[in-house]
Subunit: 337 residues, 2 copies
């Protein structure tokens, strides 16, 4: 076992930071270290935090981290910015956060920006979360900006996903919400001291009830939400009703309710067997994507570069369709159908 | 050649609509039809339109389409919504647009929503664009919501990418902008009749000049932008300076300037050789991703399902790291390193 791995397991934040840099740079040491750390993972509760710009996600993550620290739990924060190859946004968020949390050894904060490759950031984020998990953090908050497919892929790596909204966002934003409501385990309406909060909560409740993959609201129960009219006694461990929690993160208001909602979701995941099921799905998807990558690398090495260019020329000249080009390339390495 | 293909090439919008449905549903006929249509592609100018919610992208696409129609050109519109598995947003946008453009045979509009698979939407969008290209549309507008990685991947399929901004968006939005400025060939500040337009234009110009991949502003020239202080005589065909165009799409203001900017970018792409270069890069990426997919399908068929489950069990029990699991699976099909 490498010094990096033993240092990290012994609690060295320097070793952890170095491993995260290796992961970001796709350094060969990263995968070896992660394989050695793998038996030490699976203990942390992974909380995804996503939502549109302007909803106050960073303040919310900050407040949550402080609340967990006050309760004696250690917290890792991964701030992911899929939109910024410049990583300007991520760095900015980091600095603001650092002011509040710096100097506390029970908190570790890291920003990750996109490398431009499709799926590359989701993979790197998964590896980073695993490194923090092995390092022993109790709660890992994974914050993403925006609500595109890559953010959804990143949020799916969490056990509990918070979708953050704010009152008074426009109609176009409202339409977008529908897409991320599906992945929300807990809906947070932050900035709840601003006008329009009640109509936002009502609109979200309606959208939740419309969600095509869910049974009608009368048939499923879960955490008694702040706005819920379901009696708590109806609780069944195999169903989860997404609660809507109102917060004012900058003042710490509602953070205790949010913590209890996250706790209740974790209990639901355990009791219902969903925790194991979700982990297995995640692992299966990871195996598939790794298999795909390794396979491609091996076959790409066996394809003659001159042939690759010749085939590309024919595609460019519109003489050969891409699907037929792939078939021809695979024939030359004996792998065609 | 199938009836679908001959009908589509003869101008049948019904055949085109059917092919797009096949593409969305990954129907086997889609790939065969696209292969047959491939020699008829490569003529349309592909314009990507992306930007944050609330910037008025849909109105802009609408105005642009009407302006192209007035100039006698046919227009295809693909509206992509990567955030909405419900496709509520996409359908909404469609209806609004239909009011203005319906009944005109020179315009074809189609919305596409995500199927949830990573990269699946980008692929389907690429295929849809190819179908419209073969059907003979002069200009194809590809509109995406938001600014995540998947939107960037979709925008990269275009020849000319417009990034739409609006005055008065908050600081967090500002930070996000940096990420998509890199992909902008033309920056559009829409809603230019609203307060703050000049400070937005200044901020964007500063961000553009800071862009790390670009030479300092004094060294590169291109289209004389509305706010440019470069004399037009400095034009060199091998450099492009992203212009900033102010529009009020709802009133059609600035649309003529925007059309000229798109035209100038197309001329630049041709003269500089970038058009061929970009197409080749796109084709190479497409070949790689198709190759990866076919390879995985073939190898997955050769892996014993019982072994797959046994390996997954070991990963779930944290006895085997994912990287080692992949190695073991590849050994059984004789493909390990």
């Amino acid at each position: 076992m490498s010094v990096l791995v033993t240092d990290l397991l012994a609690g060295s934040q320097r070793a952890l930071a170095r491993l995260l840099t290796y992961i970001e740079n796709e350094h060969p040491q990263a995968q070896a270290a992660l394989a050695a750390l793998y038996p030490h993972t699976g203990k942390a509760h992974l909380v995804g935090v996503t939502g549109a710009p302007g909803t106050g996600k960073s303040s919310l993550v900050n407040s949550l981290a402080k609340a967990y620290r006050a309760a004696g739990q250690t917290v890792g924060i991964i701030a992911v910015d899929p939109t910024s190859p410049f990583s300007g946004g991520a760095i900015l968020g980091d600095r603001i956060r650092m002011r509040d949390l710096t100097g506390d050894r029970g908190v570790f904060i890291r920003s990750m920006a996109t490398r431009g490759s499709l799926g590359g950031l989701a993979r790197a984020t998964g590896d980073a979360v695993r490194a923090l998990d092995a390092a022993g953090f109790d709660v890992i908050l994974i914050e993403t900006v925006g609500a595109g497919q890559s953010e959804i892929d990143i949020a799916r790596q969490a056990h509990t996903t918070l979708v953050v909204e704010a009152p008074g966002l426009g109609d176009e934003v409202q339409a977008i919400k529908a897409g991320i409501l599906e992945i929300a385990d807990v809906l947070v309406v932050n900035k709840a001291d601003q006008p329009g909060v009640q109509s936002t909560v009502r609109a979200l409740r309606t959208l939740l009830d419309l969600g095509s993959n869910r049974p009608p609201s009368g048939l499923h129960h879960g955490l008694p939400a702040q706005d819920s009219r379901q009696p708590a006694a109806d609780h069944r461990p195999d169903e989860w009703q997404t609660p809507i929690v109102e917060t004012v993160a900058t003042e710490g208001r509602g953070i205790d309710v949010l913590q209890r909602a996250i706790q209740a979701h974790r209990a639901y995941l355990r009791e219902s067997g969903q925790l194991r099921l979700r982990e297995r799905q995640r692992q299966e998807i990871e195996l598939q994507s790794r298999l795909q990558e390794v396979l491609f690398r091996q076959v790409a090495e066996r394809i003659d570069p001159a042939l690759w260019q010749a085939v590309l020329d024919q595609v460019a000249a519109r003489e050969l369709a891409p699907a037929d080009a792939v078939e021809r390339l695979l024939q030359t390495v004996g792998l065609a159908d």
